[in-house]
Each structure stands twice: as C-alpha cells, then as structure tokens.
Amino acid sequence: MSSRMFAVSRDDWSLHRTGHMDQQRHKEKVKEAIRNNLADLVAEESIILSDGQTVIKVPIRSLEEYRFRYDPDRRSRIGQGDGNTRQGETIGRAAAGPGHGSGGGGAGDMPGVDYYEAEITVDELADLIFADLGLPNLKPKGRPEMQQDAPRFDDVRRHGAMSNLDRRRTLKEAIKRSQRSAVRLSITRDDLRFKTWQEHRETHASAVVLAMMDTSGSMGAFEKYVARSFFFWMVRFLRTRYRTVQIVFLAHDSRAREVSKQEFFTKGESGGTRCSSVYELALSIAGERYPPEEHNVYAFHFSDGDNLPSDNDRCVELVGRLLSHCAAVGYAEVAAHRSSAGSTLRSALSSIEDPRFTCVTIRDKSDVYPALKAFFHGGPPQGPG
C-alpha cells in the first residue's frame, strides 16, 4: 500500500463560515438596495395586490452582477429536445420585460430573466417604510371610558385552576425531572404549571380612515392604483399604532356616497366633479358615527383636481370644518399628465394653514412614498392618544 496514490480525510469543517459571512453581506446589500428603492417599492403591484401573501419578491436591479455581455434577446440559443422537435415549435414563453415581476410559472427556466429578486416579507418592508413615519399632531384623547382593565395571560405559576394548565410547560418539567433522576417519565403534582393572568389597563384607541376618492370620468386606472397603494400603507401603518382601524370608503363624482372597498377601487363613473359633496358626506359620517373624543379620524381625499371652479370656496370651508373633527386631513392630486401648476382646487386648498392639513401632488408611482411621508410627518413614533 505504500505506493497508494490517494488519501481520504474528514476534517472538522465547523469553523468554515465564509459562505455564511458573505451571504450575510449580500443580505445587507439587498436591504440597503431595498431602502434606497423604497419609493419604487411602495407602489409595487406585487405588494399592493398580494392580499395576505406574506412573502413577496421584489426585483433588485442594483445587485445584478453587471459585465460586458451580448444582448440575450438577440442571441440564438441551442436547446435539446426528446427526439422530434420541429422547426417553428414554441418551447416556452418569455417573461415580461425586466422591471416587472417575473410573474412566476416557470419563467425562471427561460433564459434572459437575470435580474435578482429579493424575498422580503411585507412586515419587513413595512418596518423599513414606517421607520420615518409618525402620527401627526395628536391631541391626547384621555376619555376614561376608553381605558379598560383587560386580563392578559402572561405569567406561569405552580398553582391554579386545572382549566388553565399549561401542558407544554408541565411536560417539560416532567421530562427534566425524569432525566435528572433517571426514572421513567411520569407527571407528578410538582410538575404542574398553570397559566395565570394579570390585569392590564388598556387603551382602546381606534382610528378611522375616511378614504375619499373622485370617481368621475377623468380618473383612470393609474389614479385608482395610486390611491389604492396609498391607502394600503396608510391602513397598515395605522394598525401598528391603534388597536382597531376602520375604513370608510366614500366615492364621489358630483354626488357622494358610501361604497364598498371593491367598488371604491374598481368602479368608474362619468360626469362632472363636485368635491364638496364628499366633504359634506365625510363630515356627517364623522359627526354621527365617530365623535372626535373617542376616535382618531384621518380623512384623505384623492382627486385629479378637475373640480367645478365655483365649488372651490365651499371645499375650503368644508375642509376647515373637517379639520376640527379629524386628527389629520390630506388631499392628494393625482396628476400624471398635468403641468406643474396644479389645479384651481389645489391652489384654493393650499391657502389652508393648518399643520394637520397636507396637500400633495402625485405624478407617478414613486411619489406615493413621499406622499405618505408628508402626511405622516409626526416624527418619531408616539403612542396613540
């Protein structure tokens, strides 16, 4: 065996962490890239339309490894069939152009889909987005009825009612004891553990969002999409600060009415626009259902600004009254095609000087994030009133 030309060994590889360390660095870079792209990601369709799906894929262009290469779409390639491939046969579908999600469905198998997709949970993304947001101008709402003593199970004791037995902990104790003393597993009285509660004083603060949207003929799919992504994050953000968040959807053209979420985001109508109608409706709903002492009302209105000029003064007056009722009021003008001047409604509303009133213009999807920031400019996180 002396001339043996080989050796076999098994080393201790447990210290070999290089791959994990560089993977960590890669993750950091992904996060950095996401942070830099928040404005684009906030309005990313895959998130807004994800409906409960918790992990989403977001395209990260800055982490592609760029190099000089041939244009993949112009190259011919070689494939291999199972014996009877014919000329002209379609072997697969190309993904939509990069920049859109790959859409799933085996697109990854096809060439050319090369950009990096980071996986991130909606919660992680929300944390990043909400890092800069705060609740604006809160007035303490110290109504005593809003506070209640609520029981919360947060302690473990050795005595208690059998109905509160903590089975998992009890079993653990039994296993520990039997292992210590090397006897067969059995549960004795000493092993029993019970869940116990303590009374906590809780504030039942709730928020109400009055989502208002112009659904007149001039509002198209883009405008609705922008509103949708704005309300998505708005509600999500409020949920981190309030126990309950209710949303009331109000649509209007020249008249306003309360609608379902479905209708709110899909229905299109025709006719002229009278924004005062929706402000009136908002005021009456807020007054009837959500007295300001008990609720933090956030009213936000999306419109393209094509309002009847004669209606503008009335709008200004109504927004002023809304402000006395609400924690904050916002107006967003979606103006994909408008010149920078803004509408007459916008300039009329701009005259309102109240820090709780925000007026923004949204031209493309990436403006949604700044709009969120403008509306929730309350600075560092504060507790609800």
Partner: protein, 468 residues
C-alpha cells in the same frame, strides 16, 4: 459515515484506481475530502476551498444552498485542478454515489494533467488563492472594507476581460510607461484651438493605423484587467495587486470554462466505463443507472455539457473502430484517438471537428430564439446548430473588447473598442459596466461598438453614461 463504511469506501477507491490505471488514465495523486453540504456549497460558490470574500459569492452560495435545501439540485462532488488533485465528496453520499464520483473525478484529474490548455495553469492554486484571500483581508483591515469592496465590484465586473491565450503567444505590444508618462498640458483658454490641432492629428493617426503601424498606448491589448492594473494612473499599489489577483484567478479558471463539454464528457465516459468493471449488486446497478441518467438529463433550453460531450466521445470511439460504446481497448486505434482528443481539443474544436449531422439529429439539438414573447425553434439544420454552438463557445461567450487608445486625444482618456462580430452588446449591461472601468481608470472612458447596425460610442465621465 462510520468506520466500517469508510473502510468499504477505501477498498472501492483502491479498486477503481486500479482499473483506471490499467486503462491508461493518468491523473495527479488524489486527495478525497468528505465534507458537509454547507461546506461543499461554499466551495462550489467560490470555486475553491479558500478565496477572497465578496458578496457575489455569498449570493451564489445562498442560491446553491437553497436549491439543495429544496431538493431542486444537488452537487455530489467538486474537483480542483491542482497537484495533488483535491476532490470533495458530499457527506451523506451513498457508497455507490461515491464510487461513481471517484471514477468521475479520476478522469477529471487525468484531464487536468494532460489537456494542453491546462499546461500553463498553476497546480498550487489552492495555496495561492488562500494567500490572495489573506492579502485582501489585510487590505480590508488597512483600507476599509468599503473601499476594497468597491474595487472588487469593479474588478469582478471586468474579470472576463482577460486574454486567455496570452501565455501561448507573445504579449501584446504595450509600452509600459507610455500612458503614465503622457504629458498633461496645463489647461488654457485656448484649449479649443489645440483640440482642432488634435483632431487633425487624430485623422492622421487613423491613417497610420490603417497602415498597420502601432503608435497608440495599449492599442490592441485585449487584456483589459492587465492594462488597467499596469496603466491606470491613480491606483495605489494594493489596488493594482487586487486587480492582478482577480485576473490571475480568472486565468486559472478560464481553461475549465473552455473545456466544460470535453472535460465533463470525458469524466462521464470514464465513470460509465469504470463502473462497468466494478462488481455491483442488483440494487447498486439500478442506483447507478438512475444516477447516470440524471447526469445526462436534458433540458429544452440548454445543452447539457455532460450529455453532449459524452455522446461526441462515444461517437468518435465507434467511428475509430470500437465495437460498441466504451469498448475500445488500451492501445487500439479508438483508444488512442480518445486520448489524443482529451489532450489536444477544447470545446470549440471538439464541436467544430466532431459534431456530425447524425449526432445533431440523434441528440435532437436545435437553434431557438426569442420571437415576441415566445421562444421559438428556428432551425434544425445541423450546420446551423454546429455553427451556433461554435459561436457561443468562442471566447467562452464573452464579447472581446480591446484597448484602442490608452491616451485618447492626448488627454489620458481611455478608448475601448468592442470587436463586433454580428451580435450586439447588452445595452443596459454596458451602461452599468462602463462606470466600473471609469472607477479604476479615473478618467473618462469610451466604448465603441455597434448598435442596431450603426457605430455607437458609450462614454462615461464619472457622472453620466451617454451614447453618442
């Protein structure tokens, strides 16, 4: 793996080595290491047991590891071109899998030792790259992780822009000091006048170039990394070192990129043959058949190099007189032909010389391309298939970019030229890559290429990247 299994493995390796030697395989001495999946995938991502650290390796590692965890793909082994030759076996491989892998990597080892493209590669690269890693780590500590990473980002983006045949022919004519000595005139209000003057010099320069005389610094150099390492003005010594390291490692890996089909075909041919010599139980025979089939598995969208290489070799063997696949005997004509091919061919020449019409039809190879949003088979003609493969293998599918002028207009700017051969560059990728050249060069850089049939020049002056 317990001691009994280890003993079985040792015995099996002994037998396989014996058969291999008898049949003429002559590799480096082997070092087999058994390691867990995490470690094997790290090696896979880095290409080496120890290599400098960069997030792109972490990205590759993560992808491979995830695919392994989800059972989508699995690598069984990794083999390294070195003397002795290291082969890493995945902990948890069955005995039969290990037998196949041993037979497979023995042929790789033989290939590394004998194929002419590997003659120039360092056989101590494991140690060398580990030393590189240590150096780069020192630079990180001294100059900060961010600045090393920024440089590596640039260097890795350009790593394929080397001249893999440099060792085989004379180095391109570069006068080392020409570029760095180039005088910089102080800027004056009359610069535009001088530029007029320069324009006419340029026109003259164009003529002398047509005449074949070579007066521009770096002209014709296709080893961009080397050129940058030697001539970029603002670089510190450690930065030149990093560029040199990246280049050296790429040159080491290049022959493996050039011989993927032949090398894997060769290893597959031999694992099949050597396993035939082994005494297998019935279950082992079934397991082997399954494993061998998975190695040769085909895809509609890619060519499996194992499958293509294996079938070309079998075809050659039979054309040169063997009575059946894997039936050549040491010393006979078919055997000699196979061993000659493993020594003298690369993928490119193998396909050009030995891919026949019968093979293209038998393997059902076809040309396809994008048509709207569909991928459509455009050709089944064997000439087209072969020529397309040859084109893809040319320079390992990397566009050739050469230095046209390392002191363009006497201003110290770098003018690069893409050697356009009918396929245009990825526009977006070029726009994102040129700034990396700028990052290293430190002055405006230009890239001349052809877009949509027209000459186009991409310029990066640090801030903007524009097409002209």
């Amino acid at each position: 793996m317990d001691d009994r299994e280890l003993a079985q493995l040792l015995e099996a390796i002994e037998t396989i080595h014996e058969h291999a030697r008898r049949m003429g395989l002559d590799g480096f001495p082997m070092r087999y290491e058994i390691c867990p999946a995490d470690v094997l995938y790290t090696f896979g991502a880095y290409g080496m047991p120890a290599r400098f650290s960069h997030w792109s390796f972490g990205k590759a590692f993560y992808r491979m590891k995830t695919e392994y965890d989800y059972n989508l793909s699995r690598i069984y082994e990794l083999v390294i071109n070195s003397d002795p030759c290291y082969a890493f076996l995945l902990e948890g491989n069955s005995l039969l899998q290990n037998k196949v892998i041993v037979a497979h990597v023995l042929a790789h080892s033989d290939f590394f030792k004998h194929n002419y493209r590997f003659a120039q590669t360092s056989r101590n690269m494991v140690e060398t790259m580990s030393a590189h890693a240590a150096r780069i780590r020192r630079y990180e500590m001294r100059y900060g992780r961010e600045s090393v990473e920024a440089l590596l980002d640039a260097a890795l983006a350009l790593q394929e822009q080397v001249d893999p045949h440099q060792a085989l022919r004379r180095a391109p004519p570069v006068e080392p000091d020409e570029a760095s000595k180039a005088p910089l005139r102080p800027s004056t209000p009359y610069d535009d006048l001088w530029e007029l003057d320069e324009l006419s010099t340029q026109a003259r320069g164009e003529q002398t170039r047509v005449d074949g005389s070579n007066s521009r610094p770096g002209e014709g150099c296709r080893d961009l990394l080397l050129f940058l390492a030697e001539h970029a003005r603002g670089l510190a010594e450690w930065q030149r070192d990093v560029l040199t390291i990246v280049r050296e490692e790429m040159l080491y890996f290049w022959p493996q990129m050039e011989t993927k089909v032949l090398n894997e075909g060769w290893a597959t041919y031999w694992h099949a043959r050597l396993m035939r010599e082994m005494e297998l139980t019935e279950e082992e025979a079934v397991e082997f058949a399954r494993l061998h089939a998975s190695v040769l598995a085909r895809s509609r969208t890619h060519v499996n190099p194992y499958d293509l290489g294996y079938h070309i070799l079998l075809d050659i063997e039979q054309r040169f007189g063997a009575s059946g696949p894997g039936m050549s005997q040491p010393g006979d004509a078919a055997w000699q032909k196979l061993f000659e091919i493993r020594e003298t061919e690369t993928d490119l020449s193998l396909v050009r010389n030995y891919l026949t019409r019968e093979l293209v039809e038998k393997l059902d190879l076809f040309v396809y391309r994008r048509d709207g949003d569909e991928w459509v088979v455009t050709d089944k003609d064997w000439h087209r298939v072969r020529d397309e493969l040859v084109q893809q293998m040319t320079n390992c599918g990397v566009p050739v970019i050469v230095v046209a002028d390392g002191d363009w207009r006497g201003s110290g700017e770098l003018y690069l030229e893409h050697r356009y051969e009918g396929i245009q560059l990825d526009r977006v990728y070029a726009e994102r890559t040129l700034p990396y050249v700028f990052r290293i060069w430190g002055r405006p850089v230009h890239l001349e290429t052809v877009l949509d049939g027209k000459r186009a020049v991409l310029t990066c002056d640090g801030g903007r990247v524009v097409w002209k």
